[in-house]
Point group: C2
Chain length 265, copies 2
């Protein structure tokens, strides 16, 4: 049970690129989403730096409400983003590496938890967006590895394969994909720019990279889930000038979710 009146929630589930997405200086997509949905939906950061899908799957089983809990709870999760691969796609000698076939089955298993009516965590109201791992800039990342006394442990070719895998899972499961790998690579090619303009250290997104991802997420929501676009979701409690006009102020200050009039999203 939430310790405070719950709003409906957006869950951002992922690795460091999600964990660091609340950084305002990096214009992190999490911070931007939390702001654009303020007073509408809570945006919760469930990013775990360094994690891969082997570790994500048991975490997700604890994050999600059971069917019973969903019935007992006032609020729901209209949207969850799933954003792994940056660590799974590390080269095979790395302890973070998860082979492509298991990355695919782990990702499908995470979707299945939510989408399969046989799942005890079946959650028909939850929309999903998969996000592809971003490109790797080997020039920058090699320096990071060398600073840690390690050899280069990621390549853009591997990142591309894991991104393609996510797109495949998206097609096979009917789940929208925000393909940030292609978005950035297309921009590089088209505008003759360098990957280092979008990446902090060759692996993590910088402000430019995060802005691309934020815009991509918003357009994915606009295309596939317009009913939860920030402009389509109402504020919790009336705009103050409207409050002045109501007959019964106390009634107008009741949260709909608590009065069992759930917002139908």
């Amino acid at each position: 049970m939430s310790s405070t009146h719950p709003y409906n929630q957006i869950i951002l589930f992922g690795d460091s690129i999600t964990q660091f997405s609340f950084d305002p200086e990096l214009c992190g997509f999490g911070a931007l989403l939390a702001n654009i949905y303020v007073r509408k939906l809570d945006v919760l950061n469930r990013g775990f730096s360094g994690y891969n899908t082997d570790w994500a799957l048991p975490i997700l089983k604890q994050l999600l409400p059971s069917i019973k809990e969903q019935k007992e709870t006032a609020n729901s999760i209209p949207l969850m983003t799933i954003f792994f691969g940056a660590n799974d796609g590390a080269l095979p000698f790395s302890p973070q590496h998860v082979p492509l076939d298991r990355f695919k089955s782990n990702t499908k298993a995470m979707i299945d938890l939510v989408k399969n009516p046989e799942s005890p965590l079946y959650n028909p109201k939850m929309r999903l967006i998969l996000i592809t791992p971003p490109p790797i800039n080997e020039v920058q990342w090699r320096k990071q590895c060398e600073n840690n006394g390690e050899k280069l442990n990621r390549t853009n070719e591997a990142a591309r394969a894991y991104a393609e895998c996510i797109k495949e899972v998206g097609r096979e499961t009917g789940t929208p994909v925000a393909d940030i790998w292609s978005k950035i690579m297309d921009k590089i090619g088209r505008d003759d720019r360098d990957l280092s303009e979008f990446l902090l250290d060759g692996l993590h997104l910088n402000a430019n990279g995060y802005k691309e991802l934020y815009n991509l997420l918003l357009s994915t929501i606009t295309e596939r889930y317009p009913e939860i676009h920030p402009d389509a979701v109402g504020y919790e409690l009336p705009y103050w000038r409207d409050l002045l006009a109501v007959d019964n102020t106390l009634e107008a200050l009741q949260f709909p979710l608590l009065a069992n009039k759930p917002t139908e999203i």
Copy 2:
């Protein structure tokens, strides 16, 4: 009940200055807190633009968990900020105005909900910080009022009185006060600066103002509640390199709050 595994939470309760505090471009204190506490505590925005303490009190009664709910719930609220006054302190002809004596009794009533053992919402684990309303820059705000076809509806003298009132309530109830009114006014005086450097429009904080407030909150936490300083609160789930070293990975990936080993804060 939360729709997803609950972390402990910081609640930011207030008016527009809280609602807008998730704006990364404004370096809003909410966005900065959410980031510094990421993977440690959820920071929830419960800001309601334009609201005063008359409207805040009935809202708070719905926001807070009952004693029963606190027992049934895995997570708790280690901290709540209460940040009103900017609207209460509007001039008496304004529909947002709340007279000083009622502002004081409303604020004490909100504290009492949490601190009084007789209250059904008594929450001994919850720490409170009161925040004084910021200064008003009448030059800037007059322009805003005129743009709305209104006469000046706020003064810094009124803001000062409401700020003093909050400090009085803080002393009378033993609640820490983050006095942003004095902090900004002192800076103006000492460094010969203008209020417009800290305020967006004469009422709302800009990035400079929000940074002052964020720093003030962190130092209030450091002085009065060091046990919940971000450096003192551990991450949910192990750092990934530590995960590699454990015997039982699945066990290490169990959220303590769900395993009934609540983090003692």
